[in-house]
Symmetry: C2
Amino acid sequence: MPSQLSMNLATLRNGSSFAQMVDDCLRHGITAISPWRDQVAAVGLAEAANIVRSNGLRVTGLCRGGMFPAETAEGRQQAIDDNLRAIEEAATLGADCLVLVVGGLPGSSKDIGGARQMVADGIAAMLPAARATGVPLAIEPLHPMYAADRACVNTLDQALDIAAQLGEGVGVAIDVYHVWWDPNLAAAIARAGRDKRILAHHICDWLVPTTDMLLDRGMMGDGVIDLKAIRAMIEAAGYHGPQEVEIFSRDTWWKRPGDEVVATCVERLAVTF
Amino acid sequence: MPSQLSMNLATLRNGSSFAQMVDDCLRHGITAISPWRDQVAAVGLAEAANIVRSNGLRVTGLCRGGMFPAETAEGRQQAIDDNLRAIEEAATLGADCLVLVVGGLPGSSKDIGGARQMVADGIAAMLPAARATGVPLAIEPLHPMYAADRACVNTLDQALDIAAQLGEGVGVAIDVYHVWWDPNLAAAIARAGRDKRILAHHICDWLVPTTDMLLDRGMMGDGVIDLKAIRAMIEAAGYHGPQEVEIFSRDTWWKRPGDEVVATCVERLAVTF
């Protein structure tokens, strides 16, 4: 079962180094990871890539590009430039995809339609480089509660519409935390499969109550998401990559040793089957 | 402009009595209110109805019925029974509609599809009484962040699907706080208009950051919702009732005198035009 699990390294934000996080994963049979750019930068890109290669790790994604909307054309170009660097980093790490958290409303804007257009324009601008480098871009629809400040792409269908508009080299990352509530989820996942757009499958759980909108995600099995049903939908849609555990949990899991967190993730993967 | 505003009395939860809240409204030219059942119960239904009638108030809605899902058939029947009482109360107050917050996942269930079926079944069970009494039922889709614990109907389209299935006597309450992020909002509002389902239009604002998932709604103009654009969509869809201000704000507006809150609502209505 561990071979079907990837560890998003955001789950292990307890102060461990990149090498320590990898060791915690390997000790429990996890050979797939998904690091964040700041975690890669902290150890250095070359050393991170060296750790990945020397341990034969699969990198299921690099988190994250995106954050396209900005008030000025200059700001939007800066975002695109940063995304071009992210593509290079993803390529160096041999990542399966670059995950895009697309960004919310720029400045004091109330124009969510305009922000959404900036997202499509931004992805279009980086797409030639992504195609040339062979790194697919995974648009991650985020829960609507992040529409203002993190991502104005808020449903899987919306992400698929953008992907369809842009063509080859763009897909989606399906994170259960963001999409579990969607009344159209089953149809949207089936569509994502037909369109061959599924690039990643992230798991965690939705806690009741949720005490922080960003940093109170739950361990699989501790919340209300039907992880088994969603996994079945994603597999039926033709995606058979690892389930990637991504848990932002400031007050619980980020306070525990990596060894315990990874062991718990491995154990809890069972609730998804 | 005040004549186009209704005051949802949840906005005035500062300890004032029903009569005081009505006085605060009347002092600022507001002659439409939407009370909550606990606020009506506190003064007594007969006295509340007397205050409404003697002041010539319009009651744009009674909040709230709903909360249909339950783990047992007995629990679901209790919910229906309570909703039948709510219909009677709404009729006694002469309310334009009974607002339904439909409820989330019952107990430790992860079956959101099942909960949604319980909602449709519950509304169907109370609908004959609602029709006989002449009180339309307004399904209020709630923001997806409440899917687990408050309402598993989370988009306007989903509410319209249920209404279409159930027929006459069921409509929707469109609260900007819950739907502003929806990429399909414009089309859904147009559909609601074609189907003649719009029964209420609630306003407030989405604050950035939002510090509490339930009790940190903003005053119109203090957040990112394009209230003007949504009002225009709703009016273009044929609804011309008052905009009803519903602000849950434990740390800001609930701490201020009703007179100040109502005055601010009246002033801020301008940002919607």
